[in-house]
Amino acid sequence: MTRESRLITILVIVSILAAIAITVVYRKNNSIEVGLEKKPKIAVVLKTIDYRSLAFWQTVKDGIESAGKDFNVDISIQGPMSETQVDEQILIIRNAIKTKPDAFVIAAADYDRLIPIATEIKDAQIPLVTIDSFINGEVADTRIGTNNYDAGQKAGAALMENIRPGSKVVIMSYVKGTSSAIDREMGVRDFLKGMVELEDTIFSRGEISVAYDQAAHLLESDPELKGIIALNDPTTIGVARALNDSNKKLDVILVGFDNSLSVLGFVEAEVVRDTIVQKPFNMGYLGIKTAVDLINGKKVDAFIDTGSKVINHQNMLLPENQKLLFPVTR
């Protein structure tokens, strides 16, 4: 073999190798763009898809859909009609596993009862992101939602701005044993410890009418009561109505949670002094963003705080809060 033939062979081989290398690099760089079939599929199962009555989930959905567009992923959103339909949600998840999604984003309807199905998801090697309401244990890859302990502390701080130290205060929680309720109450308790006289916590079961009755009874029976912290939306509405109907509107300070239009109406009317609102849009958006990160093999934090905000009559109509508080109705 002459020097020239050797050179030619080398040059030809180099050319072919270069072509292969270019193709490989190109394919790698464009893996997501090449072919629609490679678009990741994310299955979202919410606590409920009854958006009309629960604007919170509508906003979560907006966030999910926005992120779906931003990160170029296919998203299917499912869920039971009611937050209490735990078995229904488990069934929906089981069916969704069969469609082999690239990731799951779940708002758990129950802290414990979803453990087995979540384990099934992990057994199928599918990344699992929980948003808003989580699953007991470390089965999910990450939890994205409000830091409820933190939110509880904010509620305590908001109350303390309006009452004198040593006043009598009651916490009105919703469902005993619910993780968010426990965390929020703990936050409030830790903040108020030693500053006020805390009554035993009352549980409204998350029903407006129960909360109303309980609050009405309290307001009537305890003239010393100066502050109420209601830990979720229906409880806040019930207490606010009771307070509005009583003659103690100015004497008792109510700090609530969440931002349904009813709650906001009471905030505008200053029946509810402050309400701690969550950021459902961010939950939905970050839920998808984190799921995409997990699909791409990135490390994510075990907990991502979407934050909470204290809303009152003064700041509720500020431009930066309007979008947070008032969903655009369609």
């Binding site: 002459t2 050179l7 270069a18 072509a19 190109y26 763009e33 926005s66």
Partner: protein, 594 residues
């Protein structure tokens, strides 16, 4: 190894040249293409943004028209006038109509407008006296809401003394929190020209949202709207912005109301296309991600790279082919030349090509043939020379001449002519000495003449009075070169064929002189001469005539031509009965060695 490096240079040269040209031209084309692509994208996003702007202007101007129609409508004017006459409108009457009836007419006017304009959320008439009239008679004023200021105190400005709000939550009606954009306009009582309040036309925000949402800029581009203060009117990710999870370069955008700018947001290059409406004062901002704008750029880059590689491959193969075409014949030629160097003249070069190298090969073939011929000729000539030399050598010791001479000497001695015998013997001795003494064939004219004179002396002594001779040679040519035994055979020839046997005295004259560049010897006799037929036969007979010195005229001619070339030789002139002149022509070469 020169040929190999020639081939290498051709291959490398070609490859590099083609590669460089492709890369240069390709890069240039690629940039132009990219630029065009970019400009097209910029143009198209400009168009999208402008179009959206026009649509929004259209909506807002509709609102403006509605508000103008509404404030000047007789129903509204009647109601406003009636109220101003009596603040307590529940009991007052205007134009024979109760204020509540007038209010109903306004309400139904508003209702009829809204029923055809689905994009209008509500129309509200707010009067100074905290009176609210809307399209819905059940609407109640939210007592906790801030009462909207009149347009005169608002900072927002628009044409026709109307003002346009940003998007916000309208909370003036109890229990309703609608996202709207409000066109507000001062309401005057035309009859008294008094300022009476404000008319609000609320455009449903979801209309703007729908318009903006329907716009697609690349895969994930979007549009947003800001007002002249830089406040967001619409943004699809408004909540993310307020949460600090997303940012827009609003401060920079504000400075470029119409145009384009690029920036980096969340590690992505972003192109902002802005267009500000003169009508609303709003700036519509199109946001496109540059990487998406050029989403097919990487594809083009890929194909470009592949073309470069393919061209490189092609150029390498082509240059290899071309170099082979050039160097293979050269290599064959070189090997042939090497073979010739080694002494092989029998090869025929066949390079199998039709180009210049083939021509060269053909010429080379011809040259080799010539060389081969010359070498063969050379060999032949040498052989002949040797033969002739041997012959001339033989001639010098020609036994007939010697016998005849010795017979003459014996005869002289017998006759007592001892003196003559001595002279003859010594002359014979000199004759032979001169003939043998120089080994080579080439001698000086002087030696040749001396030798000739010895010969003629002997012949004269033999023939006595029947022969007379003279030698007249220019001494200036003595030192010139001549061949041994050139003149003597001619003289011998003249004696035996021209003079011998005739009655009169045979006269023989030998001349030697220089004629320009030539030496000329002439042997002139007055003998019997020759016919032209005899003349032509002189050179044909190779064998000398009997009794001669053995060297024929042919031998003389051959030797002259062998040594000095065909331009020289021997010629004869003869007339029957008159005599013959033989002329030898040689080049005049002075040889210092001789």
């Amino acid at each position: 190894m020169k040929i190999r490096s020639l081939q290498l240079s051709i291959i490398l040269g070609f490859a590099v040249l083609i590669l460089l040209s492709i890369i240069t031209i390709g890069t240039f084309t690629f940039y132009i293409f990219n630029d065009t692509l970019k400009r097209n994208s910029l143009d198209s996003s400009s168009q999208v943004v402008s179009q959206l702007n026009r649509q929004i202007d259209n909506y807002i101007s509709n609102m403006d028209n509605i508000s103008q129609v509404a404030i000047s409508h007789p129903d509204v004017q009647d109601y406003v006038h009636g109220l101003s006459n009596d603040k307590n409108f529940l009991t007052s009457e205007a134009d024979g109509e109760s204020p509540s009836q007038a209010k109903n007419r306004v309400t139904s006017l508003f209702q009829s407008i809204i029923s055809v304009r689905k994009d209008i959320n509500s129309i509200m008439l707010l009067l100074d006296s905290k009176t609210l009239v809307t399209n819905n008679p059940l609407d109640q004023i939210n007592p906790y809401a801030d009462w909207p200021a009149t347009t005169s105190t608002r900072t927002e400005s628009g044409p026709f003394s109307a003002s346009l709000s940003s998007s916000y939550v309208q909370d003036i009606i109890i229990g309703k929190y609608s996202w709207v954009i409000t066109m507000s306009r001062d309401v005057y009582d035309f009859r008294t020209n008094q300022h009476r309040g404000v008319l609000l036309v609320d455009l449903d925000y979801s209309i703007i949202e729908g318009l903006c949402n329907s716009i697609q800029l690349g895969k994930s581009g979007y549009v947003f709207i800001i007002n002249p203060m830089g406040e967001i009117v619409y943004h699809p990710r408004q909540q993310l912005i307020y949460s600090g999870l997303k940012e827009e370069l609003i401060d920079k955008i504000k400075n470029i109301p119409n145009g384009q700018l690029t920036g980096e947001i969340n590690n992505r290059e972003v192109l902002y296309t802005t267009k500000t409406s003169e009508y609303t004062g709003w700036t519509v901002v199109g946001v496109s991600y540059l990487d998406e704008l050029f989403y097919n750029r990487s594809e083009i880059e890929y194909y470009f790279a592949m073309i470069v590689v393919a061209c490189f491959l092609g150029s390498v193969l082509l240059s290899y082919y071309i170099s082979l075409k050039i160097t293979r014949p050269l290599e064959i030629l070189r090997r042939s030349v090497q073979a010739v160097e080694g002494g092989n003249f029998d090869i025929e070069i066949n390079v199998n090509s039709t180009d210049e190298v083939n021509g060269l090969a053909q010429d080379f073939n011809i040259a080799i043939r010539k060389i081969k011929e010359l070498i063969e000729q050379n060999a032949r000539t040498y052989e002949q020379k040797r033969k002739h030399e041997l012959k001339s050598l033989q001639a010098q010791i020609n036994p007939h001449f010697l016998y005849n001479t010795l017979d003459s000497i014996i005869w002289m001695i017998e006759c007592g002519e001892s003196k003559d015998a001595i002279t003859m013997t010594s002359t014979l001795a000199k004759f032979f000495r001169l003939g043998i003494s120089k080994g080579g064939d080439i001698i000086s004219v002087k030696d040749e003449i001396e030798h000739l004179s010895c010969y003629l002396t002997i012949q004269k002594m033999r023939y006595k009075d029947s022969l007379d001779y003279s030698i007249d040679v220019d001494p200036a040519i003595y030192s010139c070169r001549t061949l041994k035994l050139l003149i003597q055979p001619l003289v011998e020839n003249a004696i035996y064929h021209g003079l011998k046997g005739q009655d009169k005295i045979g006269m023989l004259n030998v001349f030697g002189f220089r004629d320009k560049q030539d030496l000329v010897f002439k042997v002139v006799d007055n003998g019997i001469g020759m016919t032209s037929k005899e003349l032509s036969e002189i050179f044909n007979s190779n064998s000398p005539s009997k009794g001669s010195s053995g060297i024929g005229v042919k031998n003389v001619l051959d030797r002259i031509q062998l040594y000095f070339g065909l331009d020289y030789g021997v010629s004869f002139e003869s007339f029957k009965g008159k005599g013959t002149t033989a002329t030898i022509r040689l080049p005049a070469i002075i040889d210092s060695e001789l």
